[in-house]
């Protein structure tokens, strides 16, 4: 399953960090952050609950970039 979320982040490198953080979250098969369109596309692993996984993704992103936001 693939879902796209609007994100809010200031700099391109921070977007890359968010991408890395999201990719390392359990339940995420693949995540791509598009800084130009401010979107995060997440491909969930089989059987993952998107709502729960995304809460964890946001928490991990906040760790690497305190100012970021993901509109869930």
């Amino acid at each position: 399953m693939k879902k796209t979320y609007a994100i809010d982040v200031d700099c391109a490198n921070c977007a890359n960090k968010m991408e890395q953080a999201a990719c390392g979250t359990p339940g995420v098969a693949k995540a791509v952050v598009n800084f130009m369109t401010l979107k995060m596309t997440v491909e969930f692993a089989e059987g993952a609950q998107p709502a729960e996984v995304m809460r964890e993704v946001l928490a991990r992103c906040r760790k690497v970039e305190p100012d970021c936001d993901i509109r869930l």
Binding site: C11, A12, N34, M36, T37, K63, P66
Partner: protein, 621 residues
């Protein structure tokens, strides 16, 4: 400007004025430091806060942490040695100005590129049962409703014209500047602008499934497929910052150590300052922003020219295209059969065409339609009598009282008339009048008017080999290939054979070269996906082609292939320029900083100036 940007701007102005005031106050010692801490706090409090969070989250190479460390270090040095705090506050100030400028520049270019791509209207004029019109959100219009389009409006949803006629500007979808006529019964696509006239359209899709929405979605998603350059830069960014930080550490410790060994004074403060300069240059943002921005701008620009590129990685491949294989029918030819000539005619050409078209007017055969189209005038069916169709041979009819026979050689042979053979390739319709030979009409699939130029342009932009792969007969293909100047020709191929040929070409190409295949997308899907870069032609409205291809040419014009390649090359050149420029300037500044020539001011330029220049360069695409 959003709230955060306005807030930052106010802080920049206030702290800059305060810094100027404090600079001229006759203060000394701790009081002086305290006075400087006021503008420093105003401008830098969020950086300090983020730096603290970074430490707590064990993200030591966060740029906020580095900025905080560098400026606090400079303040400490000022207190202990120099008594100069200007630099520390100014560095923080300029860092914030840089961040602010970056945020504005990125927002601006993001907006201008998105505007460029925006072909989706915000409202649709929905007509109700009484014929009254209300403006609604296109997403709320159900399939089968009637929407009105006034002159100057964009068509909001795909549909069929129910009444009215208009000239449509399709440039946003196809890049084609010539307006297209639409009248009752015609299918029209969303995203086109109605130039003149008024249209009532019955919608056949929902707004979200309409062409405009699909095109925009594709273009927006395209920058999510990252190119090798982007992957390289983000890998580089990951090692760059730690490397610079360790460089700074080494500078602070090894510099004095070496001086001590040489019997000189260690000058700890001086080396510490140089190390702090390093930290300021350690942010990789200029690099990281300029690359995706360039691809984004190029994809936006291409979509305006009627070329949809489905990913940044495909722009990269497109730029390396050195071999092009293409299909014939529908790609370089029009795919419709047209009268290509009238030979050996005993009457004027128009007369022969008119008689033949009349004789064939009762048949639904494609040849009859080509004849009628070539004839170009209304045909009165009452002039035709005694029609006799001979399957597989042709038609014999009486037109204006004269007997007209139209058909192939077998028909002529049946009538005992000797037919002149045709030297050109195509379908030949022999015409006999009252039992005497009157000439023949050649019907052939014509090359597109721009096909020849398209091939020349491809060679001009560095394609070293062009190959035609077609399922058509050898003779027909050879003539087209000769006219176009194609290097290699393989005719009579089944779709499977085309895949095999493309694979052979893939074997043959050199490393770093890309092989492009251009096809019409319907039966070429397997080849499109097998080639390094699959280019589908005239794919407006064809989902299969959009699925299979990497690059979609929205109109039928083969000239757009070279347009796309040129644009991709330009994009890649700017990407390379930006990578070299940003890394180069940073390395030079690091070197100058290490030698003690560059100050923190230079470091700030290396960080902010490079970023701004790289962004400006990126949107030049």
């Amino acid at each position: 400007m959003n709230r955060r940007q306005k807030n930052t701007l106010v802080r920049i102005i206030v702290s800059a004025m305060l810094l100027a005031v404090v600079h001229f106050l006759p203060l000394d010692g701790w009081v002086k430091l305290a006075a400087y801490l006021v503008p420093y706090g105003i401008i830098g409090h969020d950086i300090l806060r983020k730096a603290w969070k970074g430490i707590r989250n064990r993200q030591p190479f966060d740029e906020c942490f580095l900025m905080a460390f560098a400026t606090l270090g400079a303040l400490a040095l000022g207190r202990l040695k120099t008594g100069d705090y200007d630099e520390a506050v100014a560095v923080m100030l300029f860092y914030q100005i840089g961040e602010w400028f970056q945020s504005m520049a990125v927002d601006k270019s993001r907006r201008s590129i998105t505007d460029l791509m925006n072909i989706r209207p915000d409202s649709a004029n929905l007509e109700d049962a009484e014929g009254r019109c209300t403006a609604v959100d296109p997403d709320e219009v159900p399939v089968g409703s009637i929407v009105q389009v006034n002159p100057g409006d964009r068509i909001p949803i795909d549909g069929v014209v129910r009444s009215g006629s208009a000239a449509l500007d399709t440039a946003a979808l196809t890049g084609e500047s010539l307006p297209r006529e639409a009248e009752e019964g015609d299918e029209v696509l969303s995203g086109c602008v109605c130039l003149t006239g008024f249209l009532r359209i019955e919608t056949t899709r929902e707004a979200g499934d309409s062409t405009a929405a699909r095109v925009m979605e594709m273009v927006e998603n395209a920058s999510s497929r990252k190119s090798r350059s982007e992957a390289f830069i983000s890998r580089f960014a990951r090692v760059y910052t730690p490397a610079v930080v360790f460089g700074a550490l080494a500078l602070a410790l090894l510099g004095p150590a070496v001086r001590l060994l040489m019997g000189l004074t260690p000058e700890w403060g001086d080396w510490f300052m140089r190390a702090l300069t390093f930290l300021v240059i350690s942010c990789p943002c200029a690099l990281v922003i300029s690359i995706p921005l360039t691809f984004f701008a190029a994809i936006g620009r291409a979509s305006r020219a009627g070329v949809l590129v489905k990913g940044s990685n495909y722009l990269e491949a497109l730029a390396n295209t050195r071999l092009i294989a293409f299909d014939k029918t529908g790609t370089v030819t029009q795919g419709v059969f047209e009268v290509a000539g009238v030979h050996h005619a005993v009457l004027p050409t128009e007369k022969i065409l008119e008689l033949a078209a009349l004789a064939e007017s009762h048949s639904g055969h494609p040849i009859s339609q080509s004849l009628q189209k070539a004839c170009g005038k209304e045909l009165d069916p009452l002039r035709v009598t005694e029609v006799e169709e001979l399957a597989g041979e042709g038609v014999i009819a009486r037109v204006d009282g004269r007997q007209v026979a139209c058909g192939n050689e077998r028909l002529m042979a049946r009538l005992g008339i000797s037919a002149e053979p045709c030297r050109s390739v195509g379908t030949v319709v022999h015409v006999a009048l009252d039992g005497a030979y009157a000439g023949h009409i050649l019907i052939a699939d014509k090359l597109k008017p721009t096909a020849r130029e398209a091939l020349d342009q491809l060679r001009a932009c560095g394609v070293r080999k062009t190959v035609m792969l077609t399922g058509d007969r050898e003779e027909a293909a050879r003539e087209a290939a000769r006219d176009l100047g194609v290097d290699e020709l393989y005719a009579g191929l089944l779709p499977v054979d085309k895949v095999a040929k493309v694979e052979a070409l893939l074997e043959e190409k050199r490393p770093h070269e890309a092989l492009g295949f251009v096809g019409d997308g319907l039966n070429d899907a397997p080849v499109l996906s097998r080639a390094d870069i699959g280019i589908a032609m005239g794919a407006l409205g064809s989902d299969a082609a959009i699925e299979a291809a990497d690059v979609v040419l929205m109109d039928d014009d083969p000239l757009r292939i070279s347009t796309a390649i040129r644009l991709a090359r330009r994009c890649m050149r700017i990407v390379r320029e930006n990578i070299a420029f940003a890394i180069g300037v940073k390395l030079i500044c690091l070197l100058l900083g290490a030698l003690g020539i560059g100050s923190m001011w230079l470091a700030i330029f290396a960080d902010v100036g490079v970023m701004v220049l790289a962004v400006l360069n990126a949107i030049r695409v």
